[in-house]
């Protein structure tokens, strides 16, 4: 536990607490990294494979063609294992001298592990790197929108378990409206409104009726699943041609940026929803931390009494920001229909809202970190599908498990005791 030990247990308040410097040795990072290094040995040495893996860096349609990388499996895995152990030792040294393991070390460690794993898993096959990453972005889009909604809502002090419901409502509304009007933009608008409506219920019940926010969230998810599935079977399925065949957004390649090797196809040959997502992440981050609105929002989530004393209307702030969160999440829901699949289907979000919730907590209630966490989830689930096409030695179920196991490890080992907004989940009753 990384608390300052000298301050605990009834030290009189007059004691010069600050003067005492507690050497805090946090052993979690080196233990975590060491565990992964040992796992690497287990996988790569005991399950050793020969051959050469080819990493394809360019798609055929690229203007600038990069040559593929050929990685001999034994060499790469051996080098990486050595590097991993060096990383773990470095981290242990830092902990021993009571310093923190820097984030870049963990990141490099993870990247190395990943590279070795890919090389090992795809021995004698080709991994299309752009394809892998394009799929990652695709799978992450709704997660990121959901996570942004979650961040805003929780920062203002309302736990948003209803992300799943907001995404699903958005997907449903966008499919129906876009089909009827044949205008995908109208679908986007409808998705936003649907997300707001779900949020209204969340806000009304948690703020006006002071019902426990987690309860409302869970129940809203069930309600939206029930409503959309009911309407799908009863109304949409029989009239699929009219009500459930929305037009999809086309990919819009951005002229110059789209030609950058690797990054171009991944980031700049996407649909309008993805471009809006880039803007949304930046705007939410900026607004939360650099504007008056964001300061007020965060103060309401951290200490509503204090916010109230300086004249901020706590409940009104909460109500409108929860609605905004719903709008963002609902917008993301439209990606399920207008961005990827096309038609609506029962429970088509398949737990994405819960993953987004995990990304919010994993990302420590920060829009950028939550986005990265969402990308990690997207990457892991896409990695599985890519590897299953190549034919990997690991049973596909274990590959599918991997992102969730990594999250558990990360939450237990690296993130540790995350601290959310202090007043999140607590209703504010003005007395």
């Amino acid at each position: 536990m990384s608390t300052v030990e000298s301050t605990t247990h009834g030290v009189p308040s007059a004691a010069p607490i600050v003067l005492e410097r507690a050497a805090v040795r946090n052993w979690k990072p080196p233990i975590g990294l060491g565990a992964f290094a040992i796992i690497a040995v287990l996988i790569f040495v005991i399950g050793g494979r020969g051959g050469t893996t080819t990493f394809k860096l360019s798609t055929d349609s690229d203007l600038i063609q990069l040559p593929p990388i050929f990685a001999p499996v034994t060499v790469v895995t051996t080098v990486v294992i050595v590097l991993l152990f060096l990383g773990a030792i470095a981290s242990a040294y830092l902990s021993f001298t009571a310093r923190k393991t820097p984030l870049w070390l963990t990141a490099v460690f993870a990247l190395l592990f990943l590279a070795a794993f890919l090389t090992w898993a795809a021995a004698d096959a080709t991994i299309p790197i752009p394809g892998l990453l394009v799929g990652t972005v695709g799978l992450s889009v709704p997660l990121i929108f959901g996570a942004l909604g979650g961040v805003i809502s929780e920062r203002v002090g309302v736990v948003n378990v209803a992300i799943e419901g907001q995404l699903l409502a958005g997907a449903f509304a966008s499919a129906v409206v876009a089909s009827v009007t044949q205008q995908p933009v109208a679908g986007l608008l409808a998705a936003t409104i649907a997300g707001v409506l779900v949020s209204f219920v969340l806000a009304a019940f948690s703020i006006k009726y002071i019902v426990d926010q987690v309860i409302v969230g869970v129940v809203l998810n069930v309600l939206v699943v029930g409503l959309t599935s009911f309407l799908f079977s009863k109304v949409l399925a029989p009239n699929a041609a009219v009500l459930n065949s929305p037009p999809r957004f086309e990919r819009i390649p951005i002229p110059v940026l789209g030609e950058i090797p690797i990054l171009g196809p991944v980031l700049f040959r996407q649909t309008i929803i993805v471009y809006i997502m880039y803007i949304a992440v930046a705007v939410v981050w900026f607004a939360l931390f650099k504007t008056k609105w964001g300061l007020r929002l965060r103060s309401v989530g951290e200490h509503p009494q204090a916010a109230d004393t300086v004249g901020i209307n706590v409940n009104r702030t909460r109500f409108w920001n929860v609605s905004l969160a719903g709008a963002i999440a609902g917008f993301g829901g439209a990606y399920f229909t207008l961005g990827s699949v096309g038609g609506f289907n029962k429970e088509m979000t398949a737990g994405a809202g819960f993953i987004a919730l995990a990304a919010v907590i994993f990302g420590r209630w920060d829009p950028i970190r939550a986005t990265l966490a969402a990308l990690l989830f997207g990457f892991a689930s896409n990695l599985q599908s890519v590897l299953s096409i190549i034919g990997s030695p690991v049973p596909s179920e274990f590959m599918l498990m991997l992102p969730y196991l990594v999250t558990i490890f990360a939450v237990a080992g690296l993130v540790g005791q995350v601290r959310g907004p202090a007043a999140s989940g607590k209703p504010y009753i003005k007395s």
């Binding site: 019902v211 409302v216 009863k234 005791q417 202090a422």
Partner: protein, 431 residues
């Protein structure tokens, strides 16, 4: 702490919303007062919430009914037709619901007419067990969304013992039940352990373990020698040996099995645990205020582990009841049938009190059993049940709303409505 068994009522519990507070009312006549309390009391609210939810369900059914739509086309020439169609669709649906869940009047004698009620209890069995598990976690302030994973591993363990071991009648059943509950307890205990040792947020870990459990069981079900039926290529287990199957409670014409009796015993046990035992006292203390509990000398971290062990074991019992009672011909990875999530609503509806959970489970079991017959008889998708369930919980959670709709008096001086479930909180993860 060990021998301190608190008497009932020693811990002042938060009055439930809507329950008359104990403060004396400015006394009108006794009869008037009683009437007011009945009209505005918690039981009345619950009944009205169910009625309200059913009304909303009826509106949905009527709106999507073909005959109603056809009749409303000429509403202004013959409005009677529309109302008749609305009445027909709603009453047809609900009489099918009733006849599918309580008593079927179309059957000549009582023995077959009562069969729907036993179906209700069969559906209620796993719901109650899992609901109890979620409720125990709620009382400690933990939110167990991991019902799916816990049920699946429990089903896997109980199923494996049930079909692979060769034991005499009685012992075999007990062994299988214990195996399942232990597996569920381990799956839940991991969460408690991680929370206690590393502070990992239980919401994330339970969600992640759901997926891990799902893929793990999925892998085992398609791997010969583990859970897959010999000679089969389907991801399905062999049938449970007859010695490990819960015997039928009322003979072979009913599906109701001894699992229901086990669940009754579990309810009594949980009641004893929460309300009478020393451990339960500590559970409630931690749930009300972990900081105060720690100051009082309760080992909060151990309590988290115990609570998740018990919670996981109870949810595991739901998986056991499914495998050894309801679906004995071999199970697939869909054996949890969404019960893990339904259990959350059951626990919420039962306000995390064992008796409340028991009856909430029966109510939801009735809705489920009736929902299927409604689907078969009237072509109304079973998803309507989800809508009704979630609305019931929403309305019950917000007594002021129900009172406002029905213009009920407020009984006595209502204290600030506090939510019954202290669980839900809060980013109080930080200690």
């Amino acid at each position: 702490m060990s021998d301190q068994i608190p008497a009932k009522g020693q811990v002042p519990e938060a009055p439930e919303p809507g329950q008359p507070a104990t403060i004396a009312v400015a006394e009108p006549s006794k009869a008037q007062q009683v009437l007011r309390e009945i009209m505005g009391g918690s039981a009345m609210i619950s009944v009205l919430a169910v009625v309200l939810a059913l009304i909303v369900g009826a509106i949905l059914i009527a709106l999507t009914d073909k005959n109603v739509q056809a009749a409303s086309g000429y509403f202004f020439s013959r409005p009677g037709d529309t109302f008749k169609a609305i009445w027909d669709s709603a009453s047809g649906a609900y009489s099918a619901l009733f006849q599918g869940s309580i008593y079927n009047f179309k059957r000549p004698e009582f023995a077959t007419g009562i069969r729907p009620l036993t179906e209700t209890l069969t559906f209620a069995t796993p719901l109650i067990a899992a609901g109890l598990g979620v409720a125990v976690a709620f009382r400690v302030g933990l939110f167990n969304i991991g019902g799916r994973g816990q049920m699946l591993v429990a089903a896997g363990a109980a199923g494996y013992v049930g079909f692979a071991w060769d034991l005499p009648f009685g012992i075999h059943l007990i062994a299988a039940v214990l195996a399942g509950m232990v597996a569920g307890a381990i799956w839940g205990g991991i969460v408690g352990l991680l929370k206690a040792t590393t502070g990992a947020h239980e919401v994330i870990v339970t969600i992640m373990l759901n997926y891990v459990g799902f893929y793990l069981i999925g892998y085992m079900l398609r791997t010969p020698g583990l859970l897959q039926a010999p000679g089969s290529t389907n991801p399905k287990s062999p049938a449970i040996l007859p010695t490990a199957v819960f015997p039928e409670l009322f003979g072979p014409q009913y599906n109701l099995h001894w699992g229901f009796v086990v669940v009754i015993a579990a309810t009594i046990y949980v009641w004893y645990l929460i309300n009478r035992s020393s451990l339960g006292f500590q559970f409630r203390a931690v749930g009300e205020n972990p900081n105060a509990a720690r100051v009082a000398g309760i080992k909060v971290k151990n309590i988290y582990v115990y609570a998740m062990l018990i919670s996981g074991g109870l949810v595991g019992l739901a998986g056991v009841a499914q495998v050894l009672g309801t679906v004995t011909s071999g199970f697939s990875s869909g054996i949890d049938a969404g019960i893990g999530f339904d259990a959350i609503t059951v626990a919420l509806l039962g306000r995390s009190r064992p008796i409340g959970v028991f009856f909430a489970g029966i109510l939801f079991g009735a809705l489920k059993a009736g929902g299927y017959s409604m689907q078969a008889a009237q072509g109304i998708p079973i998803d309507i049940v989800l809508v009704v369930q979630s609305l019931i919980v929403l309305f019950i959670a917000a007594p002021p709303l129900v009172r406002a709709i029905f213009r009920l008096p407020i009984p006595g001086v209502v204290k600030t409505p506090r939510t019954p479930v202290t669980a839900a909180r809060k980013a109080e993860v930080s200690k």
